[in-house]
Structures are given as structure tokens and as C-alpha cells.
């Protein structure tokens, strides 16, 4: 990758670390979305007077989401080690690291999805109700499709945040780019490794953001003109 600057061994480490990072982010992002999307839709539709009105549950889930989001990630990682062991069978390694990443991502994604859904014009919900749509049909045919551009941007933001969080899972042997940067770049005084890690992370974030922006623009039909 950087033949002039980095030794082949370091290049291998870099490639491995990138793979681990992508793996952790992808799996945590998918599971986090699988949990966060329905949770976000529910948060956006369950206040009193809304489609699935359940104000008490809405408040309770809101508190849980806030609690999870206000815990610093590095503390979350160690605080939920028993839970991680329960889920992953171990508390150390890349697979184990996916558990705290997911636990951090799900409430974050839920809040982002909630905001995206709440942006949908209430007039559309009223129109759908007037057509005889059930609450589930309103979610499936109106809220989610209309919010799709905003949801795409929300998930892009979530993935970028996960790339950042994944740098901290070296604390539980999760590996990845952040771990490589700390162990080699910082602890072994190898500024070239540190620089390489930062460059790879920048490229990843840029790629994710560009893809997300492009996709959201394609999906958004609001500004089309001949």
C-alpha cells in the first residue's frame, strides 16, 4: 500500500486492521439499524394522539435511549462486559467488540430515525388516514418511503460515528484501525503507522459520506425540475 514508507509487515497489519474495522462497523451498523429503525419509528409515532399512541412507553424508551447515549463509549464497553460475554460467549476480540458497538449504535440510530420520520409532513399522514390506511400501512407506505432520503443520511452519519467508536474497542482486544494506531503509532513511536491509520480512516469516512450523500440525493424527488 505504501511500499516506500511502510514495511510489508506493517502493510499487512494495516490491511488486517482495515478489514476488522469494516467488519465491526458493518455488523454493528446492520444490527444497530435492525434495532434502531423500528425503535425510531415507534418513538416518532407513539406520543399521545399519534398513530401508535403509548405515551408512557414512549417516555420510558426515551429515557433508556438517553441513558445509553449519555454513557461515554469507552465506559459502555467495559460496563457491559457481562452482557457482552452472554451474547458473544467472550468479552475479548473483534466479535465481542461488536456487542458494545451495537449497543451504542442502536439508540443513536433510533434518535436519528425518529427525527427523520418527524420531518414527514403531517398532512400526508392525514391524507393516508382519510384513504382508510391502517397505522402499519401509514408507516410502510407513507412515513418510511417519504423519510427515506433523510433516513439514508441518518444511517450515513451513524456509520461514520461507528468508525470513530470502533477505534476504542482496542480496549477489549477488538482490533481494528484505532487499535493499530494506538499500539504501533503511539505506544511504539511509529508516526508513519499513525499517519497511515489516520489517512485510511479519512478515506473511509469520505467514501461512506459521499456514497450516502449521492444515494440520498437520488432518492429525494423534492427538488426535481425539468
Amino acid at each position: 500500500m505504501f511500499p516506500e514508507i511502510l514495511s510489508p509487515a506493517i502493510v499487512d497489519l494495516l490491511i488486517d486492521a482495515t478489514r476488522q474495522t469494516l467488519y465491526m462497523v458493518a455488523v454493528a451498523g446492520l444490527i444497530g439499524t435492525a434495532i434502531g429503525l423500528p425503535l425510531g419509528v415507534f418513538l416518532a409515532t407513539s406520543r399521545s394522539g399519534e398513530l401508535f399512541a403509548a405515551p408512557a412507553l414512549n417516555t420510558l424508551l426515551g429515557l433508556v435511549v438517553n441513558a445509553a447515549r449519555s454513557t461515554p463509549f469507552i465506559i459502555l464497553v467495559v460496563a457491559i462486559i457481562p452482557f457482552t460475554r452472554l451474547i458473544a460467549g467472550t468479552s475479548i476480540g473483534t466479535n465481542a467488540a461488536i456487542v458494545p458497538l451495537t449497543v451504542a449504535a442502536a439508540p443513536f440510530i433510533a434518535r436519528l430515525i425518529e427525527a427523520a420520520i418527524r420531518e414527514v409532513d403531517q398532512g400526508l399522514v392525514e391524507a393516508a388516514r382519510a384513504m382508510g390506511a391502517s397505522p402499519l400501512q401509514i408507516v410502510g407506505k407513507v412515513l418510511l418511503p417519504e423519510a427515506l432520503p433523510a433516513i439514508t443520511l441518518a444511517l450515513t452519519l451513524a456509520v461514520v460515528s461507528l468508525l470513530g467508536y470502533s477505534a476504542m474497542v482496542g480496549a477489549v482486544g477488538g482490533g481494528g484501525l484505532g487499535d493499530l494506531g494506538i499500539r504501533f503509532g503511539y505506544q511504539r513511536f511509529m508516526p508513519d503507522v499513525m499517519a497511515a491509520v489516520v489517512i485510511v480512516l479519512i478515506l473511509l469516512v469520505q467514501a461512506v459520506q459521499s456514497c450516502g450523500d449521492l444515494l440520498a440525493r437520488r432518492l429525494d424527488k423534492r427538488n426535481r425540475r425539468d
Binding site: 409532513d121 398532512g123 400526508l124 392525514e126 391524507a127 393516508a128 388516514r129 382519510a130 384513504m131 382508510g132 390506511a133 391502517s134 400501512q137 407506505k141 407513507v142 418511503p145 417519504e146 427515506l148 432520503p149 432518492l219 429525494d220 424527488k221 423534492r222 427538488n223 426535481r224 425540475r225 425539468d226
Partner: protein
């Protein structure tokens, strides 16, 4: 078309002997015998703005009947309760008291599920169109059919003729952002008609449109009313909309219906102050400023009487003034005149000043009344 109700055809003919096509939409007589498609009985609706705050009455003891095939307009200022009223018809809001019957079904007694079923036979269009931005015109019209579980094949068979009907066949794959306001409302109308409803609710459907587009949309409403025998309930704050399309009108003020009747009757003989205020803007009921400023409520000296003559129906084209003038030998001075067309009927207002003593003025009044015109003394000017 004219055979919707025999009574309709008969009175339409009577109103228009000139041989012009009978104004189909016009003299709709109320049908108290129960042929109302929408009926409100003692409907009240109160809100608590927030838990614990005093209740606010949005509607009080509303009684209204919408005859089959009619276009009925409800006019009122902002906050009069119009939006609440129209939303009660398809159960988007529930009344606090009273009953609402639509097409024989008591809407107020339905469960949420039953209500969803009932809504499929009640179309609705909105001020801000409420089209889905990420669906094309075609897909928007298809939405209520998808919701009703209609097959793709059947959807195609129904949506395309509807796009034709509203004149948007060439825009079927356009997104709302690519359409003008009038085109968006046409999509809205096609969408509302997709499930073949018997009733169309129009919630300020032309309020966001310019006057020309408003007229086109109103013409389309008249067309679907006549061609599809669709009963229409519309709410508006514009008397011009009522005048253009409504057979009957109800005036809503402070949550109560203060006046209701045939549009033509209400326009020619308004009784309530709110109605008069709405009308003054469009029927020339407002006097020119230089006359209004000098107008006295009682006669002094040799002041002239200011009369408003209302010509309706067949009399709108009679040479009344010259006849009165010849008959009584009085000079009649025209201050203001306007001839209009209300819900298909000719309608004229002439404001005249008549010099002379009380006896002369009374003779003029009697003569004018004898010729079948409405007359009202507005005051005196010297």
C-alpha cells in the same frame, strides 16, 4: 345528467326559459325525506387545548344535510370550525355530541376498523394537496388502491382513466415537485376519486391557488360532480368559490351554522351579518365610498332615498328601471350596478337614488316589488 332528481330538472327548466343549457348544478331543493348523503344531527365538538385547560367549543349544535348529488359549501372565517366540521365526516375527528351519518352509515358509531372501511368511500382533497413527494402522479393516484389491497392490474385499469379525466395523462410519471399547484390539485382529485367514492370532501382545495387555476379546479369539481354523480362537501373562506360551484351553502360562525340554504337564496337574501360581510366583497353590496359617507339613516329635508334593487332569476334581464320611471314619472339615478351569475342563475344588484317625498319612494318600492324584484332602503342622501 339532469335526471339525478326529477325535482332538479323541473326547477332548472323553470329558472331558465331562455333555451340556454339548464344549469344542472342549480336549484337543488333540500331533501328532508332522508336522501341526504351526509347528515349532521346536533353535532358538537369541544376541545381541551391542553389537559386541565377549559374546554373550547369548536362546533355547537350543527345540523346540516347534504343532498345526494349536490355540491354543498360551508363558508366561514378562520377559526369558525370549518376544518373540524369536514374532518368529522370521515372520522378524522370524533364529535363530542351528536351524530353524523354518511351514506346511511353512522360514522360516529364505527370502530376504528369500520371507520377505515368507510373512509374508502369518502374521498378527500386538501389545501396543500398532501401528495407524496417520492411518488409520481400515477403512483400517488394508485396509493389509495394499494391501501385497499387492489391488484396491480386493476390499479392500472383505474388510474389511467382518472389521469385522463383530470387532464394529466401526459404527466403520469412526473413527481409532485415537477407539477404546478393546479396540476398537483388535479392529482389530488384523481387520487380522491380512485376508490370510486360516493362523497368528496374538499378542504379549502383552491385556497393555495391563483384565481385562474382556482377556476379550472372548480370547473373540474363541477365536472366530476355531474359526470360521476358525486356528492361534494367543500369548505372555504372564499364566497367566490361558493358562488361558482355550490348548490347550497351553510355559513359557519363561531362554531354554529348561522344561515343555510340554496346558494342563490343566500346570495340574494342574506340575513346574517356574517353572510352579508362575506357577500359584500363580491356582490357589490358595498356602496361606493362617496355615497356610503353621506348616507343618513333618516330622511331630512329633500334628501333622495337610496334603494338597493335585487334582480333574481328571470327578472334579471327585465327593463325594470325604465318601466318604473315611465309608470311613476320619477327620475331614477343609478349609483351602482352589477349583474352576475350565481350558481348558474343570473343575479343583479342595482343601487339607485330616488328623489321625492316618502309617498313617491313608497310608490317606487311597491312598483318594484310588484315586478318581482327585491328592494331595500339603504338610507338617504342629500
Amino acid at each position: 345528467m339532469t335526471a339525478i332528481l326529477p325535482i332538479l330538472a323541473a326547477s332548472a327548466q323553470q329558472a331558465d326559459p331562455s333555451g340556454r343549457p339548464a344549469p344542472v348544478q342549480h336549484p337543488f331543493t333540500p331533501d328532508p325525506a332522508g336522501r341526504a348523503v351526509i347528515g349532521f344531527a346536533h353535532v358538537g365538538k369541544t376541545y381541551a387545548a391542553r389537559a386541565g385547560t377549559p374546554l373550547v367549543a369548536a362546533l355547537q349544535d350543527v345540523n346540516l344535510s347534504v343532498p345526494e348529488g349536490a355540491i354543498v359549501g360551508v363558508i366561514g372565517r378562520s377559526g369558525a370550525g370549518k376544518s373540524t366540521l369536514i374532518r368529522l365526516v370521515n372520522g378524522l375527528e370524533r364529535p363530542t355530541s351528536g351524530r353524523i351519518v354518511v351514506d346511511g352509515t353512522d360514522i360516529t358509531a364505527l370502530s376504528e376498523k369500520g371507520l377505515r372501511e368507510a373512509r374508502r368511500s369518502i374521498g378527500m382533497i386538501f389545501q396543500h394537496f398532501n401528495l407524496l413527494a417520492r411518488r409520481t402522479a400515477y403512483e400517488n393516484v394508485a396509493l389509495p388502491l394499494e391501501i385497499a389491497g387492489v391488484s396491480h392490474r386493476e390499479i392500472k385499469a383505474r388510474v389511467e382513466p382518472l389521469l385522463d379525466l383530470v387532464g394529466l395523462a401526459d404527466k403520469r410519471d412526473r413527481y409532485p415537485a415537477e407539477l404546478s399547484g393546479g396540476q398537483k390539485q388535479r392529482v389530488g382529485i384523481a387520487r380522491a376519486l380512485a376508490t370510486r367514492p360516493r362523497v368528496l370532501l374538499s378542504d379549502e382545495a383552491t385556497s393555495a391557488l391563483d384565481p385562474e387555476t382556482t377556476n379550472q379546479i372548480l370547473a373540474l369539481l363541477r365536472k366530476v360532480n355531474a359526470e360521476l354523480k358525486l356528492t361534494v362537501l367543500l369548505i372555504t373562506h372564499e364566497m367566490a368559490v361558493i358562488k361558482a360551484v355550490a348548490h347550497r351553502v351553510a355559513v359557519l360562525d363561531g362554531g354554529r351554522i348561522v344561515e343555510e340554504g340554496r346558494t342563490f337564496e343566500i346570495f340574494s337574501h342574506p340575513r346574517h351579518a356574517t353572510t352579508k360581510a362575506f357577500l359584500s366583497a363580491i356582490t357589490g353590496a358595498a356602496l361606493p365610498a362617496q355615497v356610503a359617507d353621506r348616507l343618513q339613516p333618516v330622511r331630512t329635508g329633500d334628501a333622495s332615498a337610496v334603494l338597493r334593487l335585487v334582480f333574481t332569476g328571470t327578472h334579471a334581464t327585465d327593463p325594470v328601471l325604465s318601466r318604473v320611471s315611465r309608470l311613476l314619472g320619477v327620475d331614477v339615478n343609478i349609483i351602482q350596478a352589477q349583474v352576475d351569475d350565481i350558481a348558474g342563475e343570473p343575479f343583479g344588484v342595482i343601487v339607485v337614488s330616488v328623489p321625492g317625498d316618502i309617498a313617491t319612494v313608497a310608490a317606487v318600492q311597491a312598483a318594484v316589488t310588484g315586478l318581482g324584484l327585491g328592494v331595500e332602503v339603504l338610507g338617504y342622501v342629500s
